[in-house]
Structures are given as C-alpha cells and as structure tokens.
C-alpha cells in the first residue's frame, strides 16, 4: 500500500472537443454501469490499480464527453486530488472542504467522494489551477489547453517548474499552523536568557572566592594597599579579610 501513503495527487487531464453525436451518448450509458461496479475495488486494492488506470481514464474521458458541447473552445478539465491516508485524521471533514480554483477565482470547483474535480467550458489558452485545503500547501499548476490539438495538454507545477506528462502533483508540504509546545526541558531553561544570567551569577558567587584563594596573600595585601592609596573603594574591602 505504498501508493496510499504517498503525498500524491493524481490529476488526469482530459480534454474533450466540442459537439458530439448522440451515438456516443448511448455508448456512455453502458460505460456508466461499468463504472459503478469497478470503482469500489480500485479504491481498496492497489494491485489492480495499474490495470484499471486505463479503464478509469477511459471512463472519465467518456463521462466528460456529453457534458462539453456547444462552441469549439469549450473544453473540460478533469483532475483528481488524493489525500494522503497517513496524515488525514479528519479525512472526510477535510475532504469536503477542499476547493479547486481556476484562474484565481474565475471558477471554483469541489471534490467528489472519489477525489475527482471537473472544470467545464474552459476556453483554450494557458490557465492556472490552485488547490486549497486546510493543512496542506499545493503548488499552483499551469495548464496549457491547446486550441489546435484536441486533448493536447501541458501541465507544469509553477513552484518547482516540473513538467508533468501524466500530471501527477505532489503537495509541497503539510502545513502546521501552530507552534509546538516544547516539553519541559532543563537545558532549554538553562539556555534561556534568565538561565544564562543565573548561571553567570552562580559562577561569580561560587568560583570567584575560589579564584581569590589561589592568589598569594602577600600580593593581595599589596594590591589592597595600592587601591587604598588611590582612594578607590574596592571590592576586596568588602571581602572578609583573610586570617
């Protein structure tokens, strides 16, 4: 189940050209029956995925066909968002709150239970698709919809400049909105400014007398004399006189 754990979003892009005949619509009805039976196992068993990818893609290609109609430049973009199973705690709640935005708000789409989203009636040109999900950061995707070649699509992650043939998107990261409270740690307290100050005080209080002891008493006395002559109140006068 490696593919489940990966932070991957698979987005399949299909374009369907303009007007289609009724004949194809009839064919679809059969395809649709197929879909209801095949979709369930795909989500559960991974070995079948490779085999069925083609089939799904065909099905989606098919299901988008009757939808796009009318003028030449209405195309349909279909993609898929997959939420990583490992990090999704409130899976369902998060899933229904994901929005897919085309061209900075021109069109907003939502996800179906299987993670697919669709943009209808997209004119040929270069578009931008963004996915917004709380807790995740997705790179915007540049999508080139070709006017001349039906179905020819180029997609690039704008953040990493990675070109995608099958358009497999990786969310850049999972967002953590809160700082984590560090557990109680003696070292952290010692390293804090307060801790450093206390440490310094301890050094002064306990180590300075030790240093004093090492000084030769004669020399000490001489220094004290000197200081007294200068008339400067000295620290040594505050210290207890050595016996």
């Amino acid at each position: 189940d490696d593919s489940e754990g990966l932070l991957l979003i698979y987005v399949f892009f299909f374009l369907s050209p303009g007007s289609k005949k009724d004949l194809e619509t009839r064919l679809l009805a059969i395809d649709d029956n197929l879909r209801t039976t095949t979709m369930a196992p795909i989500l559960r068993s991974t070995p079948l995925v490779a085999l069925l990818v083609l089939q799904i893609s065909l099905l989606f290609f098919a299901s988008t066909l009757p939808i796009s109609s009318g003028s030449e430049d209405s195309n349909t973009i279909t993609g898929r968002v997959r939420i990583p199973a490992s990090t999704a705690i409130g899976h369902a709640a998060k899933f229904s709150n994901i929005k897919v935005v085309l061209n900075g708000g021109q069109n907003i789409s939502f996800l179906r239970p299987d993670g697919y989203f669709t943009f209808h009636k997209v004119p040929a040109g270069t578009h931008l698709i963004e996915v917004y999900a709380l807790g995740f950061f997705f790179s915007p995707v540049r999508v080139d919809v070709s006017a001349r070649h039906h179905g020819k699509v180029q997609a690039t992650l704008t953040e990493t400049r990675r070109s995608l043939t099958e358009l497999v998107l990786e969310p850049l990261r999972a967002d953590q909105y809160y700082e984590l409270r560090e557990p109680f740690n003696v070292m952290a307290i010692l390293k804090s400014p307060m801790g450093l100050m206390v440490g310094f005080m301890v050094v002064v209080v306990f180590l300075m007398p030790k240093l004093m002891e090492n000084i030769d008493p004669e020399e000490m006395k001489r220094t004290q004399e000197e200081l007294r002559n200068q008339g400067v109140p000295s620290l040594s006068s505050l210290l207890p006189a050595s016996p």
Partner: protein
C-alpha cells in the same frame, strides 16, 4: 574582543529567530481572536424533518452559500461558499429509496441536496455536505432557470430531476448526475415560463410564450425527452411575464397592461384563456403585481399596496377571497394532511408580529395564530418558510423560518423565537473603529480577581501549564480561566486600548457594534430616513471623536446612505452615537453622493470632522452645516483640492475650489469647483483597474532611514499620492484569456494636487487583478505574470532626493539644511524610487497593512489569500534593499538575503486553522499600546485578532508567570534570612574562638 563577537553572534541568532514574528500555540486559540460563521440572507429554504434524528433546514443565500442548519439551535452543520459569480438559482432535497446499488450502500434511504447555479447542477450529501456529483448543463446568459425535483424520488433511472436553464430542458439522473436527455427550447422569441410535472405522470408540460403574445404548451415524455404533443394559441394582447402556477394544469399570468389576469389552462393539451379584469375583483384597482408565493389553486396579487388572494375555480374563474395590508409576508403552500394545504402569513402590528397559518381552501380555518414580540431594529419580515410537525396530541404544529429586513434569520415555534442568526453580518460593506466609554469614578467595576489566594492559585496553574506539568483537568481549568480572564469583554476603555468597538455597516443598512474582546454585538441599529423607508448604506466615517475638547460629548459616526440603487439618487446622512447606538439625527440632504471626503485635520469646537460631499453635478457640499465649520473651511478655501477617477473613460481629474454655488436652490455650504488637471490614459492601450491612496490617518514615525553605511535616506511621505494601475484592454479579463505579448501592466504614482506623474513603472507580459497596499513611502502590489505564469509581488519605495544632501553634520550645525523647509506639492519634487519584485505562490483577494499608534513598530503585510486565510508577511521580506549576499553590516540591520519568491510560513497565518469564508476586506486599527494592532477581517465570516508585529516589546505577555516571579522573590527573601542566620552563627563561633 571575543566576548563582543560572541554577543554579536547572539544578537544575530535573536534577529534571525525574530523573523517568524507571529506564531501561536494551539492552546492560545481564542485568547485574542474570535471567529464568527455566517451564511448571508436566505433565499431558499428546504426543511428536512421527516426522519427521526437530526432535524435540519437546507438554505441557499444571496452570498452564494449553501448550508445545512440545525433546526434546534440554528448552528451550521455544513456549508459551502461558492464563487462570487455563482448565484444559486434553486435548492431542493431529493429523498428516496435506493432500489439498485447506488454508491455502495444498497437499500438505504439516501438523501442529498440539489443546487442549481450558473449552469451547474450539484448534489451534496445531506448528512456531511460531501459533494456527490455535479453536472454541467447548457448555459446561456439572461435566461430563467427552474429546478424541479419529483416528490418522493426513487433512485432509479425512471425518475429524473428536471432542470430548465439556458434555454434547454435537462433531465438528470439522481443517481450519478448523468444527463439523460435534453431538449432545446432556444427558438427565436420563445421564452419558457413554467415546467410542470403532475404527480404520478410521465408527461412533463412545458409552457412558454412566443414573442409574449402566443402561449405554447409542449408535452414531453419524461423518460425519453420526446415531444408527445405541442399546442399553441395566440393571445390577443401581450403577456407581462409575471406568472403564477396555481395547479398542475393552470397558470395565471398578468398581461402587459397589468390590469388583466389571464388564466391559461391546458387540460389535455388544449389551451384556453380566460380573462379577468382586476377591477372586477377589487374596487380601487391599479397596476397589479403577482407575488411569488406558490399557493395551490390560489394566487396572491399586490394591488394598490394591498395583497389580495384570488381563488382559481375549476373552470378558471377567479374570485377574490381575502385581502391583507401591504406589510405582509407569505410562505409557499405546504401540504398538511389529507389533501389539505396550508400557508403562513406574517404581518406587523407595532412591536409585535403576527404569524397566521391558514388552509388555502378555507381561509376561515386558522390553524395557528401567534403573536411574537419583535425587536424594532430587525425591520419588516421579508420572507417566510413554514414547516409542520405532528404534536403529541396528533394535531399539526408549525414552525416558521423568517428572514427579516436586516437579513437576520429567526425560527419561530410555539409563539417564541427559538433561535436567531444575525446574517446581516455576512454582508459587511464598511468598517470603522470606535472607543468605548471611559471608566468613571464611582462606577463599580466588576472584580476581576476575587482574592489573593484565588489569584495565586490561578497563576500556579498557569505555571504548571507552561512547564507542561499540568494534568488534563488542569489544562481545561487553565483554558477556562484564560477565556474569562482580565475582563476582556468589559464595556469600558482599558489602559492598553485592547478593548474597542468595530462599527460595521451592512448591505441591509444596519449598523453593528462588535466588541473586540469576545465579538459580541454591543448594539445594532437599523437606519431610518425621513426621505425613504430604507436607505442603502454606502460608507461609514468617524464624525466626532472627542479627545481634547468636548469630552462630555459622546463620539459619533456618520453613515452615508442613498435612497435607491442609482448613483444619482438622493443621499441620506445619519449620525449614530457610538456609546449607545442611538441614531442622533438623520437628514435627507437633497443631492446625490458621489464621493465623500473627510477633510484632514479640520475639526470644529465640538470636534466634529469637516466633510465634503461631491454630487453628480460637480458641486461639493460642506458638512456639518454650521457657520463655524464654514469659517474654518473658508480660511483654507484655496488649499482644498480633490480628485476623481473615471475608471471607464480612463481619466483622472483634479479639482480646486472656485466659488459658492449660484442658483436659488443652493445654500452657502455648496461650492463650485474648477478643473485643475487631467490625466488621460489612452483607451486603446491602458485601462484603469486599480487606484489607491494612503490611509489618511496613518502615522509615520520617522522620515529618515539610516542605512548600514551611515547613509541617510529620506522617505517621500506625502498624503497626496495616488497609486494607479492600468492594464491593456485585452488583459483586463481573466487569466488564460490573453497571451503575454498582448498584455502589459503599468503603474503610476500621481500627485493629486498638481496631477504630476511622479513615477511610472511598466511590467510587460503581466495582467491584473491588482491588489495593492500603500503605506508611508511604499506601495506593494500583487499581480499576475503571464510569462512565468506565476503571481508576483512588487514593492516600490519612494525617497526624497532633495533632502539627500543633508548628510553633512556641519550643514546641520550651521543650519544650512533644508529639513525645516515646508513641503509643498508645488515644489518640484526630486525623488527617486527603489523597487524589487518577488514571486508569490497564491492568488490574493485583498492586502492590508498593520497600523500602530505611533508608527514605530515594524509593519506586516496582511495578505488575504483565495483560500480565505490571512497571511502575515513581515515588511522586511518586501524590502528593495534585499540582495543575494547581504554584507555583514546589512545582515546586522536585519536585511534578509534575496530569494526569488516570498516565503509562506504556515505559522504566520493569523487565521491559523480557520477560514474567513468569502473574505472581502481586512481592516487594521492601532491599539494604545504601540506594539499592538487590531485586525478585523470580514467576508461571509468575521474574524478578529490582535497582532504584535514585533512582539509585545512594551508589555508583558499574557503568558508571563507572576507566580514564578513571586516564588522567586519569596525564595530569595528566605535565602537572605537563612544566610543571614548562618553568618550570624558563624560570626559568633569565630568570636568564641
């Protein structure tokens, strides 16, 4: 030396760690911020109360929200905010049994919400709001759309959802949204009026008018979409288009003279007309209007400000059965029990509203009559939706969901308001801040901390919490204590200025005062006007802010409104007391309002701000209309300039004052203006998409900026700068509609007094939308770069060249500097700019900047992203002095190495894990404490938080542990005593020796 180096390194560490200046621990949520969720004014409501368990109502609103509300408490189960252009045309619930396998759960009752908007039909799962399917239907502009869901839908292919939209009738499968068939009705001049599907029938009737003078009925087989029969009949005259379907085979329509009701019946496909003069129904007839409620075998017509009920007989004969006063809102009819249909009507009487539920067939049978006390500030009842339930004594009970004029939503049941939602706050149009009253002596102050012991206990708990030694119960207690602490919801001013009021004006013309502490509504006022019933609010200004003089006056705000939607309709001014929420006065000003200009620094003796209001005729009017204000204004008459932007024509005009208005209608407070300058953008190459000025009340702390190499830069700080962004006409559309070669973005900085263009910057291959923020001497704007296909953010900083020579100390000493020379827009500015661009990985809805009391604290940009979150970005990231390899000195100053894109640090989202759905604007206001700023974001939701862009350097944080301090002091005192005692002892023993 080594020590100095170490200290310096330490400093670097602190500086670099200070970049993430906003971050929050999860347990701090709700301490300084609050979040309120709304849905907007309800358009449609569908009840779902059949099953036992959760009772809910599905609503769609004018803010393009579809939501499921708990019928017991009014809470939101789930909601979805659609795009701003995705108006919802219809919402309904499809309930049914699954016969075959549908969505892996066979033989269960499956329910979902259907919503039709902008040619999309979407189905949402009722319990959790997950989208089940969506279908794109044929779309066309300016066409009616109708949604029809069969009652008690069964989930199989035989039943379909009928949607009429874009000139096509679509049949959609409820299982997966598959389009079963569609039928074209887009013929020239043909307009579909009604789609009817009688119960237990496979025939769908489509009624439409051809050129408004011929009625056509199509009979369509609902399984195949084939036209079974088609009948048409010409009407002598024209239809007005107002129509009401009264039964499965009859509709009533108003003709174009609005004085004749025409009953069209199409039994078995045969069309017959029957005309009834309205004057034969009521005596004092006039122009009639068919009201929207759907009643069976009856229709409601509004004639001469009265609502009359007209019963439609079997043969299409009309008779008036009842009439009500105009102020009546009605619901659609609702099947109650065995062939009985009821409807509700609500009317006002004084401060009460009367809810009546009657049977449609027998208007004398009153099923329910209730009177409920209603707040005057909610206005009239706008819409009513009713739902019935079976009481324990087997009789019918009714609950009514009513939408008031101020957009609030209330549920009435058993003569009481069960819950209410202030949905007006979902459509805030303007926001300003106001101070709370000063705490007066003698006024008892609620005790915050009870006793010293309690206080100490609380702090020990906090200490435990911060050392992570607290048990789960302690954590709960700490959280509770924090929420209640420090009297944050008191109604008086505090020392730090944390408690304030945000005054919000909504689209319904209602004014709300929200407390910054907990977000509660302190007061609300629905604006009235002598000229018209309900003026629409435009904007909000601070009218009177007493601080030096007139301290006994209450501060007030000015609400500028307008009677009608047209810009030339007369304006209305309302003055509202901020402390009490009372409307002090309201006046009809007799001229239109195009632009409102608060005059900077001009206040009269009662501290009323002087305002100029420009009308459509090019005159300006001075307010307040007092001789004193006139005197002040006339002193500065020659120094008053204003400008206006004609976005469609691409012209910016500057004006100066000329003289008093001539003419009999004008008073002495009206002035004419003369045009001083114009900036005309060539319409074939440039189109204005954004203009922006600095906030007039912004405070700039220092004009000089000292850089690392002891160089001084002087900021060009002028209140008269206008930022203008233009784009090639082709690039004015959406992303994806233009190639990089065709589009260019040009930004200008224009002095609004002289019309001089101070700076021009062109971005080839870029397009809008442009979102900008202007503060001090810099502008930051966000736009789309088509070549890189990424969003970009550019910063432009403006510096004054003429003052740049004042570096020499001797010049300053000898007074040969020009620092005290007055700044004038007329002196030719010698200025230079620095700019830099960065990529930004998200679409943006709005940008704001933090503002503090003295302007000392560093600034943060508040970027409202399209994901409805707000990102706080330090201004240091958009500093044109950033270089790839900053020198040691520059690093010391805090310059961040240049990167090609701006970082998005998740912890710096000030909205943390919340979303301000439908975000439209962000307002910042300074607190009294220099480090802190208030941030208020509005959209469909409201969000407030308090920010400290450079951390709270001037006060202790809430987390500060007083207990630790106290314990330390106690421990120190104890240690002093112990050591003193020990030393005494030692001294004694030494003396003995």
């Amino acid at each position: 030396m080594a020590m100095a180096l170490r200290l310096y390194l330490l400093l670097i560490v602190f500086v670099s760690s200070a970049i993430v200046s906003f971050s929050l621990y999860e347990d701090q949520v709700g301490l300084m911020d609050w979040h309120q969720r709304y849905i907007g004014k309800v358009k449609h409501a569908v009840f779902h109360t059949q099953k036992t368990g959760r009772k809910r109502v599905i609503v769609s609103t004018e803010e393009n929200v579809v939501a499921s509300l708990d019928l017991r408490h009014g809470e939101i189960f789930w909601r979805h905010v659609l795009g701003t252009k995705d108006a919802i045309d219809g919402v309904d619930i499809a309930l049914g049994k699954c016969k075959e396998s549908c969505l892996d759960v066979p033989n269960t009752v499956f329910a979902f919400t259907l919503m039709y908007h902008r040619s999309m039909l979407r189905a949402w799962n009722l319990p959790d709001g997950q989208m089940v399917w969506e279908t794109s239907l044929h779309s066309a502009q300016h066409s009616k759309s109708l949604l029809s869901v069969p009652v008690n839908l069964k989930f199989d292919k035989d039943y379909s959802i009928l949607v009429f939209g874009g000139g096509y009738l679509h049949a959609v499968s409820p299982i997966d949204g598959e389009l079963l068939w569609k039928k074209d009705f887009t013929a020239e001049g043909f307009e579909v009026q009604r789609v009817l599907q009688p119960l237990e029938s496979s025939i769908v009737y489509v009624l439409g008018f051809l050129h408004s003078s011929e009625a056509i009925v199509y009979q369509i087989d609902s399984k195949s979409g084939e036209v079974v029969a088609e009948k048409s009949k010409a009407f002598p005259g024209r239809f007005s288009g107002e129509i009401s379907a009264v039964s499965n085979d009859k509709v009533v329509v108003l003709d174009s003279t609005r004085s004749i009701l025409v009953t069209i019946s199409f039994v078995d496909g045969e069309i017959s007309f029957q005309k009834t003069l309205i004057s034969s129904l009521v005596e004092d007839s006039g122009e009639a209007e068919i009201l929207s409620p759907l009643l069976s075998n009856m229709l409601a017509v509004k004639v001469n400000k009265r609502t009359i009920f007209v019963r439609v007989g079997d043969q299409g004969k009309l008779e008036m059965v009842d009439s009500l006063s105009d102020e009546t809102a009605m619901s659609d009819s609702l099947p109650v029990a065995d062939d009985q249909v009821a409807f509700a009507s609500v009317h006002h009487e004084g401060s009460k509203i009367h809810l009546t539920v009657k049977l449609v067939d027998d208007l004398d049978t009153v099923l329910l009559r209730e009177s409920i006390q209603m707040d005057q500030h909610r206005g009239r009842v706008d819409r009513v939706f009713i739902n019935n339930y079976i009481k324990t004594d087997r009789s019918n009970g009714f609950r009514a969901l009513i939408v008031m004029e101020d957009h609030s939503l209330l549920l009435l049941q058993q003569g009481a308001i069960v819950w209410s939602r202030e949905e007006g706050l979902a459509s805030v149009t303007d926001v300003t801040t106001a101070e709370l009253p000063v705490e007066k002596d003698g006024v008892s102050v609620a005790k915050v901390e009870h006793t010293l012991v309690d206080w100490l206990k609380g702090h020990i708990l906090k200490l435990k919490g911060s050392l992570l030694l607290a048990s789960p119960e302690d954590v709960v207690a700490i959280q509770e204590m924090r929420m209640k602490s420090s009297g944050r919801s008191k109604l008086t001013r505090d020392h730090n200025g944390f408690r304030k009021l945000f005054i919000a004006l909504t689209r319904a013309g209602k004014l709300f005062a929200l407390h910054t502490g907990d977000g509660r509504i302190v007061w609300s006022t629905l604006l009235n006007s002598p000229a018209c019933a309900r003026p629409s609010g435009i904007s909000l200004y601070q009218w009177q802010v007493p601080h030096h003089h007139a301290m006994d006056e209450n501060p007030s705000v000015l609400v500028v409104g307008r009677c009608g939607s047209d810009s030339s309709s007369p304006g209305v001014l309302s003055f509202v007391d901020v402390y009490t929420g009372k409307e002090i006065s309201s006046s009809d000003i007799g001229h239109s309002v195009v632009q409102v200009m608060p005059l900077p620094l001009f206040t009269d003796s009662t501290e009323q701000r002087l305002h100029l209001i420009a009308d459509t005729d090019g005159h300006v009017h001075l307010y307040p209309k007092t001789p004193e204000a006139l005197g002040i204004f006339q002193r500065e008459f020659q120094n008053v300039y204003w400008y206006n932007v004609e976005g469609d024509d691409g012209i910016i005009r500057g004006h100066g004052m000329k003289s008093s208005c001539a003419g009999e209608t004008a008073d002495e407070y009206c002035f004419t203006t003369r045009e001083l300058w114009t900036v005309v953008f060539p319409s074939e190459s440039e189109k204005i998409i954004s203009t922006l000025t600095r906030k007039p009340n912004e405070v700039v702390h220092t004009q000089a900026k000292v850089s690392t190499d002891q160089d001084v830069l002087y900021k060009y700080v002028s209140r008269n700068l206008l930022f203008v962004a233009t784009v090639s006409p082709k690039g004015a559309g959406e992303i994806g509609s233009v190639t990089p070669e065709e589009s260019a973005l040009v930004v200008y900085l224009i002095d609004t007094v002289t019309g001089r263009i101070l700076h021009r910057l062109s971005h080839q291959g870029c397009q809008g939308p442009v979102h900008a923020v202007f503060s001090e001497n810099w502008v930051v704007y966000h736009y789309f770069n088509l070549r890189a296909h990424k969003y970009e953010v550019t910063v432009v900083e403006i510096y004054d060249q003429s003052r740049a020579e004042n570096k020499n100390v001797w010049k300053l000493v000898l007074g040969k500097h020009n620092l005290t020379a007055p700044i004038s827009s007329y002196s030719r500015p010698e200025m230079f700019t620095k700019s830099q661009s960065y990529f930004f990985p998200q679409s943006v809805k709005t940008i704001a900047v933090t503002s503090t009391a003295k302007g000392i604290t560093s600034k943060q940009l508040l970027i409202g992203t399209i994901g409805d979150q707000i990102l706080a970005l330090d201004k240091r990231f958009v500093d044109p002095r950033r270089t790839l390899n900053p020198s040691q000195a520059e690093k010391e100053e805090g310059i961040i190495p240049l990167t090609d894109s701006l970082p998005i640090i998740p912890q710096s989202y000030i909205t943390h894990s919340l979303k301000v759905e439908g975000l439209r604007g962000i307002v910042t206001a300074p607190a009294k404490l220099e480090s802190t700023t208030h941030v208020f974001a509005y959209g469909v939701d409201l969000f407030y938080t308090r920010l400290a862009p450079s951390k709270t350097y001037d006060s202790l944080t809430d987390d500060f542990s007083y207990a630790l301090l106290l314990i330390t002091i106690v421990a120190l005192v104890a240690a002093i005593y112990i050591t003193w005692a020990l030393s005494e002892k030692k001294e004694l023993s030494e003396k003995w020796r």
